[in-house]
Symmetry: C2
Subunit: 444 residues, 2 copies
Amino acid sequence: MVTRTLARNLVASRYEDIPAAVRHEAARALLNWLGCAIGSARHETVERALAAVSRFSGPPQAAVLGRGERLDILHAALVNGISSHVLDFDDTHARAIHPSAPVLPALIALAEWRHVSGAQLAHAFVLGVEAEERIGLSVFPEHYEIGWHITGTAGVFGAAAAAGKVLGLNARQMAWALGIAATQSAGLQEMFGSMCKSLHPGRAAQNGLTAALLAARDFTSSEQAIEAPRGFAHVMSTRFDPGVITEGWGERYELMSNMYKPYACGLVVHAAIDGCIELKREHAIRPSDIERIDLKVSPLVPRLTGNKDPQSGLEGKFSVYHAAAAALVHGAAGESQFSDVCVRDPQIVALRGRISVEPDAAIRKTEAYVSIAFKNGRSYSKHVPHALGTLERPMSDADLEAKFRGLTAGILPSGQIEEVIASCWNLSALEDAGALARAAVPQG
Amino acid sequence: MVTRTLARNLVASRYEDIPAAVRHEAARALLNWLGCAIGSARHETVERALAAVSRFSGPPQAAVLGRGERLDILHAALVNGISSHVLDFDDTHARAIHPSAPVLPALIALAEWRHVSGAQLAHAFVLGVEAEERIGLSVFPEHYEIGWHITGTAGVFGAAAAAGKVLGLNARQMAWALGIAATQSAGLQEMFGSMCKSLHPGRAAQNGLTAALLAARDFTSSEQAIEAPRGFAHVMSTRFDPGVITEGWGERYELMSNMYKPYACGLVVHAAIDGCIELKREHAIRPSDIERIDLKVSPLVPRLTGNKDPQSGLEGKFSVYHAAAAALVHGAAGESQFSDVCVRDPQIVALRGRISVEPDAAIRKTEAYVSIAFKNGRSYSKHVPHALGTLERPMSDADLEAKFRGLTAGILPSGQIEEVIASCWNLSALEDAGALARAAVPQG
């Protein structure tokens, strides 16, 4: 029943029913996602994917964001899905999935191929997130603990639901689209650390879009693909709570549990970075004056990011020592703080050596205490109860704009950067959502 | 280790090492597969898939077999994979997978796109089958019993290995290709009875080919994707015997366990069909005289084909009741016995109602006992120890030619039909394997 009920709910939903706060969150997620995709346009992972598949692309229907190439919508969804996740800088639901990376690549490609208004895109996105999160959470955390990368395995449902909404599927076709998505659900955690991690949301976007396109042509599937004994939930998890998929439909929205990362590394390091940046802002600290730095953090922090002597930018993302030192020197922790150059900067290497990390089981993973002792005997301390970007202390709209500008500077001209930002905030009134994709490609 | 070992074995293999009997079996499999693909060229499933995706196809690199359209090689692999499995008339390994449908669509498309000799195609096909069967069998039967459609889930490895061999991948790239395949492995048994069942080998062919193309551009993956704790085997099965993947490499060939179907439905029904056809031949049975029919069969038969009241041709394939009734009325079980018309024929519907199925755990899945009791009190019985098409009672080369002619008549001119047959038997000496695809499309 639950597959059919979800399909009916998706088809029956009207944009007028979506609360203003949820609509605004859709705009925030879109801006954040666009920045990640544009900012990674020249990443090696994207270059290799494009080199492999562009010879097989169909008509130039949709843009590779941040670049000049135009591909058919299926390939565009694949490549934009890869680029938007490759830095691990995209959004994160408070409990499970990276929600935008599998869904928005399908929608932004559709919006260039046929007429889709901003309101339609926002509506389909909200519903796609609802579908993927509810389906994912119905088998969570067991499904994840088995080894599935839930952003891929559940994300494909989100792309199918969202694309199906834009394509105007009826309830039966929507159930088929969910079924075609279910039978393509894939992605192994073993891929973490390789280029395949970002392939997962790319394929989820492409496969979910394909599912909706097939269903629109009455390509049939099971209509109980989620709940049947040999369907998604029972085959791919040891736990299934179908109520999670339908309860409170239209009353609560999963998008309201969405979080955005201010820093280009794993969430557990964020509170320590916050403390360092705040102390630097408040006291105009000079790194050469520092005697020692003490971090009191969750035991997860040294376990996941305990590398004291990282050698590359990527290793730097897994070093709380590097992250804290770079934050104190630069007052930032963006992608350039996790470059090879920054990780090897002698000033930062020296400062890393003055940092001590004390794990404390009473401290949450988004909490930290930072203390800095100076050579002259003075000291400053800061308690960060909630890292910036958590639900308790979300990034503001201005924070998200700054992040977008940081990611896209040097890729888009400043006029286009401001155009994309303005279009996102104006999403509900945007007559043609394809304008977003056009503004996200360097012109001329 | 086993992913790397398999990759090295695939890369090191030379065609000269493949025994003549295995090469001949490759030709038999190719002929059988081409017949299935050509014969289903106008199937509704293929029409709907083409209607959905052809607008997104790239350059006309490869043919849709049995039709005029030309698509990019990835879409051609998808559509030919669907068509070759849609009748459930393609080949079956004695233990697990439909081996050709995920592998040959990738190879025949590559053969049109770049120069591939018949020997190269045969070699890559033998290796693809080796990879998919060995990986599949390493997690079999538990993997299947969980609910995975192994033709999709293991088939993607076969397509990746075969395409990787043609593309000349080195050992590291081949390990990546297997990893990219692993993280796309998908396909649920819940789809049996819908169009998605044949989508599985189509997607496996397309995704495996994509995996090889990505790996050729150094798109990285895990190199332990099969055996790692969060890799394919442990995530997707409760049992894993890595030795199955490497033991006896180059000594035994899985293709020698390949079987071809004389009847257009699942193998588990064949012995019962054989018994009905043989009894009808021997005794000139009139259906209206029949009081009841008793089938004693493997417990798999009612589990997989227990539909007592199918409503469509497709559902008829999953009904041992329909298959036996149609075989008794028509003395055949070809595609026309699994048409909507035949499934709704009142005479056959009436006869279905007189059939009882008794599962018996002592009976193998290719074995059956058929007993027919007549209204006049007489009765006939037949024990079928091995269905036609099994390894114990294989279809001959002439049987396969006849099956090919039956499937392709009315689609290809007779000259082309004989050209394809001759080219298959001459495969090892064929200078350009792309000629097979050209002969498989109606000319003029």
